[in-house]
Amino acid sequence: MKPKGLFSVFTVQEVRCENAYTRTLIFDSPLLDSQPGQYVMAWLPGIGEKPFSISDDDPLGLTIADVGPVSRALTKLTLGERVWVRGPLGRGFTLASHSHLLVGGGYGAAPLSLLAKRARQQGHPVMVALGAKTKDDLILVSAFSAMGCQVFLATEDGSAGIQGLVTGAMEQAVAGGCPETLYACGPNGMLMAVAAFAREKKLPAQLSFEALIRCGVGLCGSCELPEEVCNKLGIPTGFLVCHDGPVAAIV
C-alpha cells in the first residue's frame, strides 16, 4: 500500500476464481482498522469507481462479480496491477454473542467471509447458509468450509444443496439448534424474509443492505434505503446505506 492520499494504492498479489464471473482479488497489504461488513470504494483511474464489501482485511481481499464496466475491469486485473481504494467506510457487523448464523444471498456471501473469520478466530461456532441460482453461481463455499464453518446450501435449480431459496438453507441450519445471533447480506427481499424469521425465533439480527452508493460519505443521498423497507423492518426512515449502514441491527 502506498502512502495515503485521497486513495490508498493496492497491488494485486493473487486472483482467485470463485465462479465463471466472480474473482477474489487478494492485495499486497492489509486494510487497517476495518470491521466485517464495512466496504471500500475501489477506483480504476479512467474507468470508474464502485463500492465493494471487504471480504478479507489482512491482506485486503475484494470479491468482485462482473456486472458492469467497472467490475468487469476489476475482474480482469492480473498480478502486479493496481487498484485505488478509499475506506474502510460505513458501519459493519458487530459480533454480538458466542454462536452465529450467517446468511448470504448471492454476492452477499462476500462480507460474511470476514465476519466468519473473526468469529472463528475467537473459537465461536459458525453456521453459514448460502443461496444462489445454481451451483455455478455459489461463491466462497470452500472458503467458509476451510475456516471450520458448518455450511448449508440452497440453489433455485437444486444443483447444490436443497432446492429453493437461502431461507430454506437457513431453516435447515437451525434445525439442530439455534445460534444466538443472525447476520445476513443480500437483496432486500431476502433480508425481509430473514428478518421475519429472526423475529419469529426471537433472534437478534444484523442485516447488511446492498444499494447504489455514489459518494460513500453520506452526502449525496443516492443510497437511501426505501421507506417501505425501513418501515417493515423498524429501521428509522432516511437510512443512508453508505453512512448509517450498510449494516443495520434489528430486534
Binding site: K2, G5, L6, F7, V9, M41, W43, P45, G46, G48, E49, K50, V70, R82, W84, R86, R214, C215, G216, V217, G218, L219, C220, G221, S222, E224, E227, C230, P236, T237, G238, L240, H243, D244
Partner: protein, 307 residues
C-alpha cells in the same frame, strides 16, 4: 439560554440553520430526518427541466480540508419533483419547518419554466441555482458569471412566480457585491451565498484528476473564509436577507457567518462528519457561544463584524 429562533422573510424558523441544496437529495424521509435533527429550514436538491442521472463515479471525495464533488445535478426532472416536494412540504409543515426548493435550467426561458412547474408544489421559497460549477461542459458558462445574465434570470423567475425567491451566487466572480445588487434590483427577496468553488484534485499515483468530471466544487472548511468574505461584501452592498453558506461546521463558524451579515446559515458538507445529527451539535455550540458571550438572539450577532 440564547434564543435561536429566527424570522426570515414571512417565515418563522426554529433555528437559523438551513440544509443546503444538493445535500441528501430530495427524498421526503431524508429531508424530514434533517428537520428532526434541528434544521430550521430545508433546501431540496436542484431540480431542472429534465431528469438527469448525473456524472459517473468518483463524484465526491472527502479530503483533509473539506469535500470536492461533481455529482452533476442528478434530479428526477421538474414534473416528478413536484410530487416529491409536495410530500416533503406536507411532512415538514407538520414539524414547523419551511421548505426551500432549488431549481436550475440550461436556458433563461428554462428557469422560468422550471420555476412555474415547481411553484405548483408551493414551497416556502424558490432558490435559483445559477451557479452550479459542474455542468459547464453541457450548459456553458454559469449564469452567475455576469451581473447581466444573473439579473436576467432573476427577472424571468420573478415574472413567473409570486413566491419568495433567493438567488444562489457563485464565489468565483470579481465583484460579488455587484452580482447581489443586480439581482436585488430585479426583485430577488433573498440571496444565497455561496455555491461551491470550482476546484480540482489530482491523484499523483494515477497522474489524473480524481473526479470523473475532472473538476468539481470545493466545499467544507477550506471554503469558509471565502464564504465569509463574499457574504460580508454582499451584506455591505444590499439590504436583502442572506442565507450564508460555505464551510460552516461548528457553532463558532455559524456565529462568524451571522457576524458578517447572514440571516440564515446553510449547512452542507459538515454532514459528512456527523451525519444529519450535525444540526443538533452546531445548534448547541452556537447557543453555548451566545450564552458565554452575552448574546440573547441571533439578530444581536448579525453584521457585528462589519461595523
Amino acid at each position: 439560554m440564547a434564543d435561536l429562533t429566527e424570522d426570515f422573510l414571512h417565515l418563522h424558523l426554529k433555528t437559523p440553520f438551513v440544509l443546503a441544496s444538493g445535500i441528501l437529495g430530495t427524498s421526503p424521509s431524508l429531508m424530514v430526518r434533517c428537520a428532526h435533527e434541528g434544521a430550521g429550514a430545508i433546501t431540496s436538491k436542484s431540480c431542472g427541466p429534465e431528469a438527469r442521472a448525473g456524472h459517473a463515479n468518483p463524484v465526491t471525495l472527502a479530503w483533509k480540508d473539506g469535500v470536492i464533488n461533481a455529482i452533476g445535478l442528478t434530479n428526477p426532472g421538474a414534473t416528478e419533483e413536484v410530487a416529491l416536494l409536495r410530500e416533503t412540504k406536507k411532512r415538514l409543515k407538520y414539524l414547523g419547518v419551511p421548505l426551500f426548493a432549488s431549481i436550475f435550467a440550461p436556458t433563461l426561458q428554462g428557469f422560468g419554466e422550471v420555476a412555474r412547474v415547481i411553484a405548483e408544489a408551493e414551497p416556502d421559497l424558490i432558490e435559483v441555482n445559477i451557479s452550479c460549477p459542474n455542468v459547464s461542459s453541457e450548459f456553458g458558462t454559469p449564469f452567475s458569471a455576469s451581473a447581466v445574465s444573473a439579473a436576467a434570470v432573476t427577472r424571468e423567475v420573478r415574472r413567473v412566480v409570486s413566491l419568495p425567491i433567493s438567488i444562489k451566487l457563485a464565489p468565483n466572480v470579481p465583484e460579488i457585491g455587484d452580482m447581489a445588487y443586480a439581482v436585488a434590483e430585479e426583485g430577488a427577496d433573498a440571496i444565497t451565498a455561496i455555491n461551491t468553488m470550482p476546484a480540482m484534485l489530482i491523484d499523483a499515483y494515477a497522474a489524473m484528476p480524481v473526479l470523473q468530471n475532472r473538476t468539481g466544487g470545493l466545499s467544507g472548511p477550506a471554503l469558509k473564509p471565502i464564504a465569509l468574505r463574499c457574504v460580508a461584501e454582499i451584506a455591505s452592498r444590499v439590504s436583502l436577507p442572506i442565507i450564508g453558506t460555505g464551510g460552516i461546521a461548528s457553532g463558532l463558524d455559524a456565529a462568524e457567518m451571522l457576524m458578517v451579515g447572514a440571516s440564515l446559515v446553510g449547512i452542507g458538507s459538515a454532514i459528512w462528519q456527523d451525519g444529519p445529527a450535525v444540526f443538533g451539535r452546531i445548534a448547541k455550540e452556537l447557543g453555548d457561544f451566545m450564552d458565554e458571550a452575552g448574546y440573547s438572539r441571533c439578530e444581536d450577532l448579525r453584521g457585528r463584524a462589519l461595523r
